[in-house]
């Protein structure tokens, strides 16, 4: 299962080789959009639901086009309609309630929700976001969605006997949402499970969640899993058994010190490798990014390499995020040219590998 990838190759793609360039999801919000949220939340301001909707539409359109101008092959709207990766969904799932902020570290807090009743599918989560983005976009749209394990692990569980049981209940809801997204035309879904990195012993629970998520999802829908900031040796190669096409992994932040983990056991799926650090405010040079991409080619052949940032880039200044995207795309195109010209030796075996290699 390495996935229906060719549908994302642009018709006018300039090179024979194709390194799929994309993003993980979040992007810095325009300052005026933050200001609009403040006004919307200010009861005294003359700024209502209609104005707030317009702001979200405008921001979504703007960032979708900003991604396209950067040359990315698959884009999203930078999650302009979302506030945080658990809160956004918890607000839409029946059974959740919010009680207030809790400490993560220092003076950094999180409005950690409580599951206070059985979870049920409430209002739509992402279908409207996808339909709008898909309407304004010329390139294919990827939909990032927070996975059930992370939704369970980053909540208080007042109802279910175990976190595992809650995760499975949520997985069924994620399945329902993805079916609706597919119905609306989505063909590239990325499930975000950052909590897996902090509790690697639970990789079997995440696997069972994914089995529930993919139930009755058509084969031509590309499914990715994003995991970040953890010790991958504790989940790899076990995660290769998950029913997804692609693994999107943060590696630039640690300067590829975990790359060997993926070389010790053949990487049998598509590899979406972080080639940009999402938490440094300097734009990496094209040359530097090219060197990073070549590291990915030590793991998988070009037809299975996806090029993306480490993680969502929402904490960066917007001009830095834009610069990183542009350099990333240019670096990918230059590597493709060098591959076409036979100037790069692909170390990784892959589709052409023989049993006696």
């Amino acid at each position: 299962m390495t996935g229906p990838r060719d549908q994302f190759k642009p018709a006018d793609h300039p090179n024979d080789h194709f390194l799929l360039t994309t993003v993980v999801g979040s992007y810095p919000k325009p300052k005026w959009h933050d200001r609009a949220r403040e006004l919307f939340e200010d009861e005294d301001a003359d700024f209502g639901a209609e104005e707030w909707e317009e702001s979200k539409d405008d921001a979504s359109r703007l960032i979708t086009h900003e991604h396209e101008r950067a040359g990315l092959d698959v884009i999203c709207d930078g999650e302009m309609r979302r506030n945080e990766m658990v809160e956004y969904f918890a607000h839409r799932i029946d059974g959740y309630e919010f009680n207030g902020r809790v400490k993560v570290w220092g003076h950094n807090y999180f409005d950690k929700p409580s599951v206070a009743d059985e979870v049920e599918y409430g209002e739509q989560w992402l279908v409207e976001e996808f339909e709008f983005t898909d309407e304004v976009a010329e390139r294919p749209v990827k939909v990032p969605i927070t996975g059930p394990y992370t939704l369970a692990n980053w909540s208080f569980n007042e109802v279910y006997d175990s976190e595992e049981q809650l995760a499975y209940e949520l997985a069924d809801l994620v399945n329902e949402e993805i079916e609706a997204l597919v119905e609306a035309g989505a063909r590239y879904i990325q499930i975000d499970e950052p909590a897996l990195a902090t509790t690697p012993d639970d990789h079997a629970i995440v696997g069972e969640c994914l089995e529930r998520i993919v139930d009755e999802i058509p084969d031509d829908v590309r499914l990715g899993l994003h995991v970040c900031y953890g010790d991958y040796s504790r989940i790899y190669p076990e995660i290769l058994d998950y029913p997804v096409h692609e693994y999107d992994l943060e590696l630039a932040n640690g300067d590829y010190d975990q790359l060997d983990v993926f070389k010790e056991h053949e990487f049998t799926k598509d590899f979406a490798m972080g080639v940009l650090d999402a938490h440094t405010a300097e734009v990496e040079s094209v040359e530097e990014i090219k060197e990073n991409i070549k590291k990915g080619l030590e793991v998988v052949p070009p037809e299975r390499l996806t090029v993306s940032p480490d993680c969502g880039v929402k904490l960066l200044p917007r001009e830095v995020a834009r610069g990183k995207m542009e350099n990333m795309v240019q670096a990918a195109r230059e590597i493709e040219e060098e591959l076409d010209a036979g100037e790069i030796d692909v170390v990784a075996s892959g589709a052409e590998a023989h049993a006696d290699d």
Binding site: G100, W105, T198
Partner: protein, 332 residues
């Protein structure tokens, strides 16, 4: 007849206004965390927040009042994080939680420069007429959370940490009770030999206190052998986390006994589901039945620190604990 005393292990959530005010005054980065030489505005904000959480406890009707440990940005590592001989390094995970603290690296002698915890306790004493309770990390846990670059030997390091905590206890105002929090005894169980030293270190700190001392363990049951050694420490009560693991705890007590008093973690400090006073009382009764003992005093407490909770649920849990103790009195 067993006396039930409603209390907590401290380390409270900051009131919501204080979360905002202190974030604005201090900042969000690791270099902005507490250093022990805060500005007047920061001190004033903490003083106000401390008074508030003392009132919350008194209004709830708790029998023991803590100062709240609101300044402990680094949780149980705090007493070292503000020490002059300690360098705070990167952000590291706090046990198995989605919480982080600055790794304290001990680079010099710990004997000088104590009194940070005692000063906060002194500030609390002005507002508490009776039942003031001190909270400290136990020596084994504090050593476990820190990195030693000075003493060069685990046993010497543990001794130095114990001596440092003894100095802190010596500077305390009058307190009724001292909770020594020792989650590392469960989470990172001591090896052979180390278990005996851990108990001796706890004994040393406990002996310095002119108060009832509770050595409180949580996030599971303590391993059998470490528990047997802990029984040798001269503390007034050992605390158990009945939320995380009650069966192994009961086994330990059946097998090795416990002190005349006991602390029972009967309220979950990490879940927003609020236990009823009746549930709390049932858990206490269950433990007494299982261990076939009528204890002189049962400290009814949250199993863990409570900063994991949003403020509303935290306050509800304090009331539930206080009401559970009253429930017992009404039936007596």
């Amino acid at each position: 007849m067993t006396q039930v005393i409603a209390t907590t292990p401290g380390l409270f959530p900051l009131p919501d206004w204080a979360k905002d005010e202190l974030a604005d005054l201090k900042g969000h980065q690791k270099t902005d965390l507490i250093s022990g030489d805060e500005s007047g505005e920061v001190v004033a904000a903490y003083d106000k927040a401390r008074e508030e959480v003392i009132s919350v406890q008194q209004d709830a009707g708790l029998d023991r009042i803590v100062e709240g440990q609101l300044r402990w940005d680094d949780m149980l590592a705090h007493p070292l994080a503000v020490h002059d001989s300690v360098e705070t390094k990167g952000i590291v995970r706090y046990y198995d939680n989605n919480n982080f603290y600055r790794e304290p690296v001990v680079q010099g002698d710990l004997s000088a420069d104590g009194g940070d915890v005692a000063a906060d306790l002194g500030a609390a004493a002005d507002h508490v007429d009776s039942g003031l309770q001190a909270v400290l990390p136990g020596p084994y846990s504090l050593a476990d959370l820190a990195t030693d670059e000075h003493y060069g030997d685990d046993a010497a390091f543990l001794d130095a940490i114990a001596d440092f905590l003894v100095e802190e206890v010596n500077a305390f105002p009058d307190v009724e009770t001292l909770f020594l929090l020792e989650p590392s005894l469960v989470e990172n169980a001591p090896a052979d030999g180390e278990d005996e030293r851990a108990a001796a270190a706890i004994d040393a700190v406990a002996s310095a206190a002119d108060a009832e001392v509770v050595a409180h363990t949580y996030w599971g049951a303590i391993e059998e052998k470490a528990y047997a050694h802990l029984m040798d420490a001269d503390v007034d009560a050992i605390g158990f986390d009945l939320v995380a693991n009650h069966d192994q705890t009961v086994y330990n007590v059946q097998e090795y006994g416990t002190k005349d008093n006991v602390a029972l973690g009967v309220v979950n400090g990490q879940n927003t589901l609020v236990e009823s006073p009746e549930t709390i009382r049932d858990r206490i009764d269950w433990f007494e039945q299982q261990t076939n003992t009528a204890y002189d005093t049962v400290y009814a407490t949250a199993n863990t620190e409570t900063f994991y909770l949003p403020v509303n649920k935290f306050e509800d849990k304090l009331k539930a604990l206080a009401n559970a103790a009253d429930l017992e009195a009404a039936e007596a």
